[in-house]
Amino acid sequence: MLRLEGITKIFGGLTALENVSFSIKKGEITGIIGPNGAGKTTLFNIISGIYGITFGDIFLDGEKISRFSPEKLALRGLVRTFQNIELFSQMTVLENVMVGLHTKSKSGIFSCAFKLPCHLKEERLIREKALSLLEFNGIADVADMIAANLPFGKGRLLEIARAMALDPSIILMDEPAAGLNNRETAKLAEIILQLKKSGVTVVLVEHDMELVMEICDSLVVLDLGRMLATGTPLEIQENQAVITAYLGQE
């Protein structure tokens, strides 16, 4: 589904990622783990088109997407969530999800300004779809709240609901469990497994090892910008190089 070939990213004199290559299988949940500063978020920013690549290529379903802009990737079905949730803070919860449905609607400036019938019909469909997504994520009760006033945990769920609005084939989640309490994390795990069930490929960067070991089908371990290991959660737990990177050497 998603294939990375020799990704290298250099910021000035700092090599943030060095020759990272791995593939992600369709319909699986893949976790990217590693100590702080390993380059996990940088890797996400590269895949989602926010940073340019210094060397290497990325393929999505065989198509080379290395130089695609985030908006183009969104149209290809690749969306992401952010480590420090990036909501549209001055808009309501419902409107946030409706923006996620932007690419599913077509009305231009002209038909919007004149409220043409086709636009009104589209608008009604968007609203219904957005509401059902909020229900799926268990936040329909706060639909009319301004996003900035949401408690953190619900903000996370909203960000996922918004990403789901694009009907993606692959979702990248940057530390989705960070700052969530146990109940919220359980809800998150449930949502991610639901996504998998409906055929969406999920990639997560996560520090919550319990969650990662529980839901991920395979793991990629990064350390200091290099790839340390890949494998199933069980294999990774046994991997000596990984243990050394996390705990240090005796």
Partner: protein, 293 residues
Amino acid sequence: MMNVLVFVGINTILAVALNLLLGYAGQISLGHAAFFGLGAYISGVLTVTYGLNSWISMFIAATATGILAFILGFPILKLKGHYLAMATLGFGIIVYIVFNETVALTGGPSGLSGIPNLGIASLTFDSDIKNYYLVWLFALISIFLSLNLADSRIGRALRAIHDSEVAARGMGVNVRLLKVQIFALSALLSAVAGSLYAHTMTFISPASFGFNFSVELVTMVIIGGLGSIYGSFLGAALLTLLPEILRAFQDYDIIVYGLLLILMTMFMPGGLVRGVPGILLSLRPARKQGREY
């Protein structure tokens, strides 16, 4: 008085136009007086020098200004924040200089006079009262269209850009194109206002389209309330009427004017449209409590 209300109408169109860009998309322009001026001058020159029909001139003025803004928008809207402010400021100054220096075309600093009124069949909009209805018809249409636009996927996408550009792009919003489109639309509406101004005043000079007026437009939008179409009307009305009311203070009017603006931004940071209801609401429970004790 009618004369002032005509100005309120024109300024409302301008404030609404700028609000689409500044309040919704969150992109500053310190050069909007230039688009207003381009509308006025293109309309004026086409009718006075080339004898074109006023309505056709207005149409050409609006379209040409919109296209110019669209072309200009691509490079200029790559800039953000202070840099965008600087670039639009520079554009405004260039246009202002062109109005002043191309004497053969625009009449230079002494202005362009004898611009014909607009008219339909035998009706000519040549008095303040007629112009009042004409200008307000246009103002209401721009308010109506802007309200619709704000409450649509385009309006939501604009506000999304305002809140988080990176997330908006991640949602598949073509941020760059949308910014340019709204910039062009805003310029086009401003040019319509300019054209109306030229045909109602029948005389224009560069002084009306300088940097000061660009700043005044931004002030109208902010005082009225960013991201509120009704707020733009309130801001335009207040800033147009206030100098007339403050005449009572004679030489001190400008000091009172400045003080009022400072106080309003301090106590109503969300603008008149949110501030006034807010203050009323905060007074109400206090009164209730007073009654109980």
